[in-house]
Amino acid sequence: MRALWRGIVEFVVGDDIWIAVSVLLLLGAAAALVRIGGDAWWLLPVGVPAALWVSLVRVRRGSRSGGSAT
């Protein structure tokens, strides 16, 4: 069961959990903005690339300091 759960998590989350976490945070923020009557359409097109950029820069830093890219 544990192996199955680990497999599902790896399948969904992939190499960097930051991406899944940031997507959830962005959607939560967008839902909150919609609920208070704000205009939220811009949030995902700005936030999604920003989240990926953070993940990419972390890999670049890791590879510069001798780690391996995942």
Binding site: V23, P45, R60
Partner: protein, 244 residues
């Protein structure tokens, strides 16, 4: 019409990438240990996949559309970003490119090294079954979610079917890994599509009114292409400096 075409292309390209990876393993097993057990393993995996798809597809259609869009949209978005991340890292030289010839050679070496007991070749069957099932699950997930959200399951399934026919036919003819398939470019294109579809549907699910309604999907695709290419260029390093 444009949405359906994008669903067809997205499903076909994503399926092709995953099927090429599964085909490499089945081919390696076939040429080293004989074809019977690998083909039986792949066939058994396809039966299991068909059962999963048959159960999951109708079940998803019973879920309220907004909830479905949030859940499926966010999963597609995470999937798309993971594919884009890999494609950008490979294109910018920060990660070694996936090499089907190398994967084939590794699999052949492992298949030759594995012991063989008389009778049925359990090793070839299990490896073929596992790889086909795992790659197939990704295909099934993408096809079902693209299809259900867009209300075009048959079109998404047709895209996957076309990819299956093309990949299996070419694989059967050449009996060699499809190393000339520009896998990183395909991953980049699929990553862009999944990220754009995921952003659009997850946004709709949480209540966002996209400017221009469905037409904004095309804008999201163009925007995603633009920032993905910009990221690749910003991260690019001199060739030869790669990490595995």
């Amino acid at each position: 019409m444009t949405g359906n075409l994008l669903v067809f292309l997205g499903a076909a390209l994503a399926s092709a990438v995953e099927m090429v990876e599964a085909l490499t393993i089945v081919l390696a097993l076939g040429v080293t240990r004989g074809w019977r057990a690998p083909l039986q393993g792949a066939g058994a995996a396809l039966v299991v996949l068909a059962v999963i798809v048959a159960a999951l597809g109708p079940a998803l259609q019973a879920v309220p559309i907004d909830l479905l869009r949030v859940v499926v949209g966010s999963l597609l978005l995470v999937f798309g970003l993971q594919w884009l991340r890999k494609a950008i890292l490979r294109a910018s030289g920060l990660k070694a490119r996936h090499d089907e010839d190398e994967a084939f050679a590794d699999e052949v070496a492992a298949a030759r090294a594995a012991g063989r007991s008389p009778g049925r070749d359990g090793y070839a069957f299990v490896i073929s079954f596992k790889s086909t099932l795992l790659e197939g699950l990704e295909v099934a997930f993408i096809v079902i979610t693209l299809g259900v959200n867009q209300g075009a399951t048959a079109i998404a399934a047709a895209g996957a079917a076309v990819a299956l026919v093309v990949v299996v036919t070419v694989g059967a003819l050449v009996r060699h890994p499809l190393s000339r398939v520009p896998e990183n470019t395909l991953k980049f294109v699929v990553g862009v599509m999944l990220t754009s579809f995921g952003t659009f549907w997850a946004g709709e699910g949480v209540g966002i009114d996209w400017p221009g309604a469905d037409a904004s999907l095309a804008g999201l695709i163009l925007l995603t292409v633009a920032w993905s290419l910009a990221f690749t260029r910003l991260l690019a390093r001199p060739p030869g400096v790669v990490t595995a």
